[in-house]
């Protein structure tokens, strides 16, 4: 009853239980954080805008993105994945979401940033619907914890209307 094996087993079980409990509590404590992030995006320029040979519209934009995501960070935050998506509706598709830019924020110090960039991923429509199309720019973020549940939220920002003609 009091052999080495039993004691080792009891100790291990207890240690694992405590560890699991601590992980669960760390994850649960994230619920008490009520973040208030802010951000703004400007489309500075339409670099080019054309129809591909296969009939899909493609546009290249220059963007100015600034955001303050510091309040998302808690002691259980490993990183925040942030991306800017263009969202719009076309007659064929009820939703089109296209990621234009993304970034990984590893620490709170880097969570207040400003960047001037052209779109990192190609902005291609499924079809030819982009002329004169108005789309929403939405900043999404996914909080990756050190352990436990992942969080995600978004901030819908100003829209932008693409030009009526290719250029």
């Amino acid at each position: 009853m009091h052999s080495f094996g039993y004691r080792a087993n009891a100790l291990l079980t207890f240690a694992v239980t405590i560890l699991a409990l601590m992980c669960a509590m760390a994850s649960f404590s994230d619920n008490f954080n009520h973040p208030s992030p802010s951000s703004s995006v400007q489309v500075l320029n339409v670099n080019w805008f054309q129809k591909q040979p296969n009939g899909n519209d493609e546009v290249s934009l220059t963007l100015n993105i600034s955001a303050d995501l510091q309040s998302l960070f808690t002691w259980n935050t490993k990183q925040v994945f942030v991306f800017l998506a263009a969202e719009y509706e076309t007659p064929k598709n009820s939703l089109n979401q296209i990621s234009l830019w993304d970034g990984i924020i590893a620490s709170k110090e880097h969570a207040k940033f400003w960047t001037h960039t052209s779109n990192k991923y190609r902005f291609i429509d499924q079809g030819s619907n982009l002329r004169g199309k108005e789309f929403n720019l939405t900043l999404h973020w996914h909080v990756m914890p050190k352990t436990g549940k992942m969080f995600a939220d978004k901030l819908v920002m100003s829209g932008y209307r693409l030009p009526k003609e290719y250029r």
Binding site: K78, Q79, S94, Q97, I98, I104, Q126, H140, K149, M150
Partner: protein, 180 residues
């Protein structure tokens, strides 16, 4: 002589009961593990509710050996979510992030493009020849929770099967020889 035979019989029956109870115990352990696994499948709706991260394509978010909890619901898939998908012709599921979504107005069918956070290019090179989009039936689930390091045991056991047999043997021996 009668009492000797009786006592031998009683000892024999004790031995028999003991083995039986050990067998039942072992069965209980195995079946409860199975119940937990199948229960998780029912709750999460995903055919493999827990996956181990095998590649470095999602670093620094997910490292090799981390485990992910998956959930498969009717909710539409949106950009930014981390999904686990199977590509036709590959049997190892891939854990990557959705970067583009197109959802059809009439059928509700979705067309998804994914990319690993640590990769430079999107996943079209990983998809089957001529495949440009993932669709609903490729998706096994979306990652909802995360636990670091726990999956290392699985990686070690799949890469060095000898260790797996040693552990299974040792555990089996322990169960058989243990006396309560």
């Amino acid at each position: 002589m009668e009492w000797i035979r009786e006592s031998v019989d009683s000892i024999k029956s004790i031995q028999f009961r003991k083995t039986l109870s050990q067998a039942v115990n072992l069965g209980l352990i195995l079946t409860s593990a199975l119940i937990i696994w199948k229960g998780l499948i029912c709750i999460t709706g995903s055919e493999s509710p827990v996956v181990v991260v095998l590649s470095e394509s999602m670093e620094p978010g997910f490292q090799r050996g981390d485990i992910l909890f998956l959930h498969m619901s009717k909710d539409p898939i949106r950009a930014g979510e981390i999904i686990v998908f199977n590509v036709d012709g590959h049997d190892i599921p891939i854990v990557h992030r959705v970067i583009k979504v197109h959802e059809r107005q009439d059928t509700g069918e979705v067309y998804i493009l994914t990319k690993g956070d640590n990769n430079d290019k999107d996943d079209r090179v990983l998809y089957a020849q001529g495949q440009h989009w993932l669709q609903r039936h490729h998706v096994m689930g979306r990652a909802v929770g995360f636990l670091p390091y726990v999956g290392w045991m699985t990686i070690i056991m799949t890469e060095k099967p000898v260790i797996k047999y040693i552990i299974i043997g040792a555990l089996g021996l322990l169960v058989i020889t243990s006396k309560d």
